[in-house]
């Protein structure tokens, strides 16, 4: 017996599907690293005009990098220190940490002085340079004043190396001398009020975003923390670092995936069982959807090389749309009864499915045009998923649904559908819609806007509070606002940064800023170093005069010879800076690579963007970068464009409908999605929800999905004429499954997905209820 073409095609499809499933399994689990991505940074849109600025954002965000920054505090000084020491030991035992610093390694204070000796004449503070170049500079008086400073003794550079104190002044400005943390009992501590804070830094062996590293490190920390708290009551542990943010994001997204995925699967299963009253349709529908999801994962990983957890959350909701195709096919099967022929069934639903697929793909393609990786990934995921699910209906399902349905659609649902269809169609419905449209106007007028970055990133408040607290106590601040300095060469960058920092210094004097961190405070430009030498040169020429001054001020001549002969030493270079271990933590301030050369200057004590922008105004090569503000601006800009896109999409869908249904019917078919959009926006206004980019993105989907319903109804009606209400029952079934999945996104922890879900909930709900207007009212007699 030769196999029928249906079986042959299905067999082929199964083979390919199996292959894709295996490939998918390999992509997800077969390779060393999981393609599942949790780092939100990787899917934020590129907002900066220059790739160097993007590099800088990345650098700064990672400055705290793969480290846990922990702050142990207790009102009892000894308890705080012992607790921190024990915490450090406990963490240090776990190999997941590359190193843990609780107790400072033994080092000599000399190490922070001696390496600077060769460069001391090239490194001057602005104040010393100004004093040296002022007309009345008197070397002997300056020496006298320094030698007779109250309490005399200074710790740092030796008097013989630095009689004027220039080097000491320079060293005092270096970052390690500006920290509020001071070494005590070999630990870095700070005191505020009665409380002692002790810093513990644990460096991870691996990435903060690596699932395995994350779990192990957090588990070890949790154990060590509870042991510490039990042993030293009254101790608190505050934490910050990328790993905690990544873990929080992951936990939220995982919860969302579970809630949305499980709840919608169960909901859809129960619904399908009730409606089809048979297990087979349920299994068929799920198989088709599952294949769609597998195809979507494969396509996404192939295109992007990764799959973001956010996409997966969105994908869980996609189930509800992908299942529509098989539902339509199964409804057709149930409605046909004993006369069912699987191949004829496919031919019957094909136009509707293709048209529906086309409108969906159109909607998602528009989503994908946005240069925003997160949305692009979702678009690719959705398009691949839809296409595969639809293809499975054409090629696989006929083989699985050869036999006629055992039972027709649940009569209860059909009766319900027919009842509503009667009520919601005809002239009366149009009048009601018109009234509702008028009622929608105040809702529209109440709409506000919100483009805040926190739509996408909403870390737990407790974590934010801890980060802020650590910043207050320890002075560590990642910060997302900074000045980017660009230049053709390293020297040009340094000179341009100095132009900025010279201005910032006057701002500090005016109290507009408390400080800043930049490389030129450690490495002045060659030009500035030459100016320093120029300021000193008159004092050292001739050398005998300097010797005479030193003697006049009271120095023994023989002791100071080395100071005079050491002048001018050599210039401090970028290579010297890079080679100095004390500067390693500040490497992130210097950018050098394929995108050019630049530096970062981070402001402290001022976050008013307008003011910060003013500081860099008119300075060549200096620009303020404010990633959250840039993203918010981008959201706002896209929100503006989105209206246009929505209009464009509506026009395209309208054209497709015009081609299929002719100029007389196009208005009717387009009315449900259009009214759905109008009413959901009004509802959002009444709910007091400000409109975000994500609401508008969801409206695009409402258009795509809503158009499907009109199509299903319009295309399905002729084939189900013998069972009035059956076609609409199918649409309602699709709508409820969509609500069960997309609607559940409204429960998401992430505001963006929440908005997405709520809009779809409203939009799909309205559209499905209005859908009956797209076909003429069912005749009473045929009931």
């Amino acid at each position: 017996m030769r196999p029928s073409p249906t079986t042959l095609r299905a067999g082929l499809f199964t083979l390919v599907a199996l292959g894709i499933c295996l490939f998918c399994a390999w992509l997800l689990f077969g390779r060393g690293t999981s393609p599942l991505q949790t780092d939100i940074m990787t899917i934020l849109p590129a907002t900066e005009r220059h790739p160097l600025a993007e590099d800088a954002v990345e650098r700064l965000a990672r400055a705290s990098g793969d480290r846990m920054i922990l702050l142990v505090s207790n009102d009892d000084d000894d308890a705080a220190k012992t607790a921190a020491r024990e915490l450090g030991e406990a963490l240090g035992k776990d190999p997941v940490f590359a190193s843990v610093i609780a107790e400072l390694p033994p080092f000599d204070l000399d190490q922070l002085v001696t390496p600077f000796l060769p460069f001391r004449f090239h490194l001057l503070t602005p104040e010393d340079r100004a004093a040296l170049t002022s007309p009345g500079f008197d070397a002997v008086a300056a020496l006298r004043r320094r030698l007779n400073e109250p309490f005399g003794a200074n710790v740092g550079a030796k008097l013989t190396d630095d009689p004027f104190g220039w080097m000491q002044h320079w060293l005092d400005r270096q970052p390690w001398n500006r920290s509020t943390l001071v070494p005590e009992d070999d630990m870095l501590t700070a005191h505020q009020g009665d409380t002692t804070y002790v810093l513990v830094i644990a460096t991870l062996k691996g990435s903060s975003y690596d699932d395995v590293v994350q779990r192990k490190a957090l588990a070890t920390l949790a154990t060590a923390e509870s042991a510490m708290l039990a042993k030293h009551p009254g101790t608190t542990l505050q934490r910050t670092g990328a790993i905690f943010y990544a873990a929080a994001a992951r936990a939220g997204a995982e919860r969302d995936t579970h809630v949305v995925g499980i709840a919608s699967s169960v909901g859809i299963a129960v619904l399908l069982l009730l409606v089809f009253r048979s297990l087979r349709p349920l299994l068929i529908a799920f198989l088709s959807t599952a294949l769609g999801v597998v195809g979507a994962i494969v396509a996404t990983v192939l295109v992007f090389g990764q799959l973001h957890l956010l996409t997966l959350v969105f994908g869980a909701a996609l189930l509800g749309e992908a299942v529509d195709y098989s539902i339509q096919y199964l409804c057709a099967r149930a409605n046909t009864g004993a006369a069912w022929n699987a191949e004829r069934g496919v031919r019957q639903v094909r136009p509707a499915l293709l048209l529906a697929l086309a409108t969906s793909l159109l909607g998602y393609a528009l989503l994908g045009i946005v240069p925003f990786p997160a949305l692009q990934q979702m678009a690719v995921f959705a398009m691949a998923g839809m296409a595969v699910a639809c293809a499975s209906v054409f090629w696989l399902l006929p083989a699985l649904a050869q036999k006629p349905a055992r039972a027709p659609l649940s009569p209860a649902l059909v009766r319900l559908a027919l009842g509503w269809q009667r009520a919601a169609s005809g002239r009366r419905a149009l009048v009601v819609l018109a009234v509702l449209a008028v009622a929608a106007i105040p809702g529209w007028l109440r709409l506000g806007h919100d483009d805040d970055i926190h739509l996408l990133i909403s870390p737990p408040k407790t974590l934010e509070a801890q980060t802020a607290s650590i910043r207050d106590v320890a002075g560590f601040g990642g910060g997302t606002q900074f000045w980017l300095v660009e230049g053709a060469s390293a020297e040009e960058v340094l000179q341009r940064e100095e132009a900025l920092t010279d201005r910032l210094r006057t701002w500090i004097a005016d109290g507009k800023l408390t400080g800043f961190t930049g490389i030129t405070a450690m490495l002045p430009s060659a030009k500035r170093q030459a100016e320093n030498i120029a300021a000193l040169a008159p004092l050292f020429t001739p050398a005998d005069r300097m010797n005479a001054w030193l003697a006049a001020a009271g120095f023994r001549p023989q002791g100071m010879a080395s100071f005079v002969t050491a002048y001018p030493g050599r210039a401090f270079t970028l290579d010297d800076w890079l080679a100095m271990p004390a500067y390693t933590p500040f490497r992130y301030l210097w950018l050098s690579g394929s995108h050019g050369t630049g530096s970062i200057v981070v402001p402290q004590g001022q976050d008013d963007v307008m003011l910060l922008r003013q500081a860099s105004e008119g300075l060549p090569g200096v620009s303020l970068v404010d990633k959250p503000a840039s993203i918010s601006a981008l959201f706002g800009r896209y929100r503006g464009y989105a209206d246009v896109w929505l209009g464009g999409a509506l026009a395209l869908v309208g054209l497709a409908f015009l081609w299929r249904y002719g100029p007389r019917a196009v208005g009717r078919v387009l009315l449900p999605p259009l009214a759905g959009i109008v009413f959901s926006v009004a509802a959002l206004g009444y709910l007091g929800q400000p409109l975000t980019l994500f609401h508008i993105m969801a409206l695009m989907l409402v258009l795509g999905v809503g158009a499907n319903y009109a199509v299903f109804l319009r295309e399905g009606e002729p084939h189900a004429a013998h069972i009035p209400g059956a076609a609409y029952a199918g649409v309602l079934l699709s709508a409820v499954t969509a609500l069960l999945s997309f609607g559940l996104l409204a429960l998401s922890t992430m505001p963006a997905l929440q908005h997405f879900g709520l809009t779809l909930l409203l939009g799909i709900g309205f559209t499905a209820l209005i859908a009956p207007v797209s076909v003429p009212a069912p005749k009473k007699s045929s009931a």
Partner: protein, 202 residues
């Protein structure tokens, strides 16, 4: 005040020489009885690099909780206002200017001294082992750094006095020694308007 004293006593159990907690307490308590003090000072700084000790003289005003005015008259005229963590120079016109490149050591030592006399010895006790010797009428307080890396630079600080502080001696490991002696120490009954202004005394 009682709570503070108890706290100091508690701290001293661990950080002060076992037999002396009450003495150290008494000394600090008796010094704190003079919230505003005037004195003549003489500072002598010895360093192997210097041919002879550098000596400066002047007068000072110390106000607990506010800071001090350090007025050098010899060998040059200069007035510094030392408040917590800040050094400012008072010019002849009565104008204050921040000394950006002030010696960090200066503000730290003066800050420590101020908190010590204000009855807040915890800060000092965390950084130093404090030993008290003598009697309440004739005492010596010795501060030795607890941090090994600081001890390698700073050998110790010694305070001597009776009802008032008489001298401060700072010894560095390098052999540098600064000795400040105070004479004619007395309670400052009133402040001049300029002094009150620069120290922020109401």
């Amino acid at each position: 005040m009682h709570r503070l004293l108890t706290l100091i006593a508690l701290l001293f159990v661990t950080s002060v020489h076992a037999q002396a907690p009450s003495l150290a307490n008494e000394i600090l308590g008796s010094l704190a009885k003079h919230p505003q003090v005037r004195a003549e000072f003489s500072q002598s700084r010895e360093n192997p690099a210097l041919a002879e000790p550098q000596v400066s003289k002047g007068d000072l005003l110390f106000v607990i909780g506010h800071g001090m005015v350090w007025h050098t008259r010899d060998p040059f005229e200069d007035t510094l206002v030392l408040t917590s963590g800040d050094t400012r120079r008072l010019d002849a016109q009565g104008k204050l200017e921040r000394v950006r490149d002030g010696n960090r050591g200066v503000s730290q030592v003066s800050g420590m001294l101020q908190s010590l006399l204000a009855g807040k010895s915890e800060e000092a006790a965390r950084q130093f082992t404090i030993t008290a010797d003598g009697s309440i009428d004739r005492w010596t307080l010795t501060f030795v750094p607890r941090q090994a890396r600081v001890a390698r630079v700073l050998a110790g600080i010694t305070l001597k006095g009776d009802a008032f502080l008489e001298s401060i001696e700072v010894n560095l490991a390098s052999g540098e020694r600064t000795l400040i002696t105070f004479t004619n120490t007395r309670d400052a009954d009133s402040l001049t308007p300029v002094e009150a202004k620069v120290l922020g005394v109401p």
